[in-house]
């Protein structure tokens, strides 16, 4: 088999996942797109392992490790998303702007100081 087939498929899957991460608004859809990107990397690892006929089978072992790490990642990520949803009432990542830079207000120090209780009130609301 030509090596370009799995490589090109992995590239296209990765870029599809990249589009999803950048364009989606729901946090769980972003996690799905991250899964697509991880799968693209796994496909590359397997294809190159089969091509190189590695004696240690490093590519396939790394693929198994990546799958396990992705499972752990999705567990932690969903726990965080559920926590955010429980505290904020939405999982819309466009509205999670607590760490964003404020537009240049009257004074930077005063702006950051008055932003402090504001975010606390939002978190408990």
């Amino acid at each position: 088999m030509h090596l370009a087939y799995p490589a090109v498929l992995a590239v296209l899957l990765f870029c599809t996942g990249l589009y999803g991460v950048l364009a989606r608004r729901n946090a769980i859809l972003v996690l799905m797109s991250v899964e697509l990107m991880l799968n693209a990397v796994n496909l590359n690892l397997v294809a190159f392992d089969v091509w190189l006929r590695d004696a240690l089978h490093g590519g396939q072992a790394l693929t198994l490790f990546t799958i396990a790490v992705a499972a752990a990642e999705i567990g932690i990520g969903l726990a965080i998303v559920l926590l955010v949803y429980r505290n904020r009432g939405s999982s819309d990542i466009d509205r999670l702007r607590d760490l964003a830079e404020r537009p240049a207000g009257p004074a930077g120090a005063a702006g950051s100081r008055e932003a402090q209780p504001d975010t606390g009130a939002e978190a408990t609301a």
Binding site: H2, P6, A7, V11, A23, T63, E73
Partner: protein
């Protein structure tokens, strides 16, 4: 590689290549549906198709153990977890018009540009490279298990510790009214309880 390239041709694809391309097109279409569908549950179900297609590609690359692991873990547990997440965050059934954010065209530009650049580089780099699939099977359960427990034992055990840490972390994060959270809630009374 050059010797192998002499016996192959672009215009005479083998059956494995044809199957790979067809399954690849289906996988890519399902992935595109996953990132563009406006119905959140449909996106998760299209993700099942995409991950299953990748598993079939592993089978075609003779990595059968990884294919079954992919089916078990991704299709079996990750997608189920994602569906649980969608239901617990009260995702709307039916089309939700705000599934895509405002920076859609910027995302399309970035993804298209990176796809074009990477496809060009990859095709240019591996133009005359061929995978020999006819020899011994590369990824049967026997071969994978032997290499995993002979050369990769320490990373394997470290991975089990990582999974345990992730499990404990997920439990701590999703437990309602823990100690630290309870201390925070005494100052701001009944923050989480009002919502539920």
């Amino acid at each position: 590689m050059t010797l192998a390239a002499a016996s192959h041709g672009f215009l005479s694809p083998t059956g494995v290549e044809i199957a790979f391309v067809l399954v690849g097109i289906a996988t890519l279409g399902a992935a595109l549906q996953t990132v563009t569908s406006r119905q959140l549950v449909h996106a998760a179900l299209w993700l099942v198709v995409a991950l299953g297609g990748v598993a079939v590609e592993y089978l075609l690359l003779t990595a059968e153990f990884i294919a079954w692991v992919q089916v078990l873990i991704y299709v079996g547990s990750v997608v189920v977890l994602l569906l649980f997440g969608l239901m617990l965050t009260k995702a709307p059934i039916g089309p939700s018009p705000d599934a895509d954010s405002g920076n859609r065209w910027a995302a399309l530009t970035v993804a298209g540009a990176s796809a074009a650049a990477l496809v060009w580089v990859v095709v240019d780099a591996f133009r005359a490279t061929w995978i020999d699939l006819d020899g011994t099977v590369q990824g049967s359960a026997e071969v994978s298990g032997r290499s995993l427990f002979r050369f990769w034992v320490l990373p394997f055990e470290a991975l089990s510790v990582l999974l345990l840490a992730a499990l404990v972390g997920a439990i701590v994060l999703s437990r309602r009214g823990g100690d630290a959270k309870g201390a925070a809630e005494t100052s701001a009374p009944a923050a989480g309880e009002e919502r539920h």
